[in-house]
Amino acid sequence: MRLVEEVAVTLTSEEREVVRKRLGREPNIIEWAVIEALWSEHCSYKSSRNILKMLPTEGVQVLVGPGFDAGLIDIGDGFVLSVHIESHNHPSAIDPYGGAATGIGGVVRDILSVGTRPVALLDSLRFGEIESSSHSRWLLRNVVKGIADYGNCIGVPTIAGELEFDQSFERNCLVDVMCIGAGRREEVVLPMATRPGCLVVLAGNTTGRDGILGASFASQSLDSDEEGKRSAVQIPDPFIEKLLIDALTEMFEQRLISAVKDLGGGGLATALSELAYKGGVGVDVDLSMVHRRETDMTPVEVLVSESQERMLLLVEGQKLERVSRMLEKYELQFSIIGRTVEERFVRLRWEGTLIAELPLSVLGDAPSVARASRRPEYLDTLRNTPPPREPEDLNKVFLNLLASPNISSKSWVYEQYDYEVGVRTVVKPGDADAAIIKLPNGKLAAVKLDGDSKKCYIDPYRGAMWIVSENFRNLASSGAKPCAIVDHQQFGDPGKPDVYWCFKECVRGVADYCMAVGVPVVGGKVSFYNEDLVSGRAIKPSPVIGGIGLLSDEDMVTTLSLKRSGDYIVVLGVTTGELGGSEYYEYIHRICGGEVPLVDPLSDWQLIEAVLNLRRMGVLRAAHDVSKGGLAVSLAEMAVRGRIGLTAELSKLPVRGRVLRRDGLLFSEGGSRIVVEVDRERFREAEMALRRHSVPFAVIGETGGNEISIKMNGEQVINLTVGEVEERWHYSLERLMEGYS
């Protein structure tokens, strides 16, 4: 067999021993291929499992937590939300268009795997510095086009996301995509084989040799030869995906399927094993029955192919005819490849002959891998970075900051996404801190993805906490109460103690925060080995958090634009002076270091409740959290979006710690803060409510005019027209990305 030498190369000798012992014999090559796929880091979490245990995963609304293809949340009235996050980093680094597109395809099939239909997509993207790197611009342009072409074509709106640029992603871009699904509670099916006697149907795309190099991807040289029959590149076919979505939706409604499972990493090998192992029932499958693109594929190739847009269905015999008719209506190809059996084995055949037989007991969890962990020494150096001198002309600094790709409006990205399809997008990208969708039961949910690698590099624990804090403030500023999150942890080689320590700290940060406020983690993902093969340099630690919040009613919907002249601008929360990882340090001063803001989950929660309460009372007209770029940028965004100017006095800000300089007050990202526009006539009510919530606050200015005027002790610090600010903030990214250059 041709693939012999390529199979089972990543298992360690100890792992091989475990397999032999559990099985009581030497597995054959096909059996090795199955175990190899199943025990890959990607599928087995062998390096991360023990650390992820720190995360709180339970909650009254959680129906299914981590462990399946998607988490499930009960949203009442007989409906559920499903959610999952995935990355496609390595594929996107070499084929940004196809890599990003197939990433969307994959996460959408996860949502289908629990019997729900996709209703919204989010993306979180990290690239090198696009101002100087044409390579990074090329990656960004094609990744966004890949997401757009795929998401738009399958009719799932991409409604929110985030974008970060940092030198450490120059050779390893990060492409994370998150999908939200919805469905009726009684239509939920979990991806497991629980009953013998079901037919195993493979539907969708033909199986070809594409993606067969998937597992060992990172080590493939980039210029794979044209003649080579196998390819690491996967060609996206959103048309088939769309037909799968429509066909499955109809089949869910008619209860035609007992279980569905997407084919992801490891292809059939993983999908079949997981179905069997999770449900405790065996499967008996003939691989030669699979509909293939190439005629001369070997059994192993069919088994591990990662061809996209395929789903496995378990169907009871008497429903097969209706299932076939549905698949035919949508002109989807399919093959009946086997059935579930009483015997607890995964049995694989080729033209009837048994070629592999693995008891479920062997397939179980891969042994955990213990990893060394050590706090990197560079952290001390970073932390003790001295502050820069305060620039004279902060007005100019501010204009430069507004043009930073990390701060500039992301409309160039999200306008390429059809964020409206499905007629459920209540708040569109750019209009509020989070996007809001209408769910099938009529309720509203806010969603957002956030990350901040610059902060996590300097202080992984504080950085990770900060991301959760920002995410929750984004949800609250839009009128929603945080209800659940998914997290995606992305790092370099876990075999490096430094890297592993950072991973642990990031997970601990997320866990501590969520535990403190009682918000569960319903799913997530880990992606290691994001390293530059040439220099061996790892990306900055990059956890990203996808948060879901629920709104109590339509009146809670809050956007960030200023609404009326003459209202008060109120800052909620205390301003602190840590500037480590702030865009002001990194972009203006080119400083990587300093202290990263420490957030306190409990006071965050008070803040969140206060904002929601003000909105409920009807005294709050706009809200926007303080994040990248600090208070000055938040104020600018509110003014630009509302086309109303404002005045602000920095000395009024409640501060903690040492006396802050003007640059700190303007650009600090510290403290957990939300800026709100409060109805002037009803300010007394707002004030009383804020006292009740014990949230520190101050009126720092008023809305009105067409200038953004910020003073310190009466002295002008920033003075620009709304138009000037808009010109900078709104068009900088677009100008960089225009055309092809």
């Binding site: 048309f239 769309k242 390429q416 399809v421 499905g422 007629v423 209540v426 209009d431």
Partner: protein
């Protein structure tokens, strides 16, 4: 009003149109798979937005060759009403039911955003609920939306066959607020008997104030117009 919404492989906005129509008093609609649709049973056939056949070859090009289109040609001859939205417009153009062609946007990117439209003719089955020259808000979302009239643009205006043009908030027309580079900012056109309308903006996405950033429901008026017309009110 009885409405059929034709679903092709890859149609995306079929349910969205159904939702909008559910907001029209007395209207009833159903989504029908393209091979099963008999137009004569309905008072309006909608070709919804989306990516029929994934926009392969050209947006709308493959759907334009399906048997349903042949039926629609007869239906239109008999005075039946057909509305094509976005991909539906592209199909109608490809099928020759509407004049012109839809090319990739001038910026070479997919564009999703809310735009202002000026109503150019409010005296038709599809637009009688609008005021003449009124400015309305609806979203667009397309890659191949640059309307090219093949030298017939002026004729279209003269014959009042332009339904909407892209405009600014006050109804002014300029290249700046022409999002895709369409000939004379044309956003929607009628056939010569005014029973077929094709438009790139999505009225169904502008049919519920909750879903509009402006709190408006201008898109709903397209469907209200047809309902008026069918009732004999226009």
């Amino acid at each position: 009003m009885r409405v059929a919404i034709a679903k092709f492989p890859g149609s995306n906005c079929d349910q969205d149109v159904a939702y909008a129509i559910s907001r029209v008093p007395g209207a009833w609609s159903e989504v029908v798979w393209h091979t099963e649709l008999s137009p004569e049973r309905y008072e309006l056939v909608v070709l919804p937005g989306g990516f029929s056949y994934a926009d392969r070859l050209r947006a709308g090009a493959i759907a334009a060759h399906t048997p349903l289109i042949e039926k629609l040609i007869d239906y239109v001859k008999d005075g039946g009403l057909v509305l094509g939205i976005c991909n539906g417009f592209q199909i109608l153009v490809e099928a020759g039911l509407l004049l012109g062609s839809l090319l990739p946007n001038k910026g070479l990117r997919f564009i999703c955003k809310w735009v202002s439209l000026r109503v150019m003719n409010s005296d038709t089955p599809f637009t009688n609920a609008f005021e003449e020259s009124e400015v309305v808000k609806m979203p667009i979302a397309h890659y191949e939306g640059r309307y090219y009239a093949g030298g017939q643009a002026l004729r279209l205006f003269e014959e009042r066959r332009v339904a909407f043009v892209y405009a600014d908030e006050r109804g002014g027309v300029s290249e700046e607020c022409n999002p895709n580079g369409s000939d004379n900012s044309i956003a929607g056109v009628f056939n010569d008997t005014f029973n077929v309308l094709g438009m790139m903006p999505h009225p169904e996405r502008a049919s519920d104030p909750l879903l509009s950033p402006y709190g408006t429901e201008h898109g709903l008026r397209v469907f209200l117009s047809v309902a008026n017309y069918v009732k004999g009110g226009a």
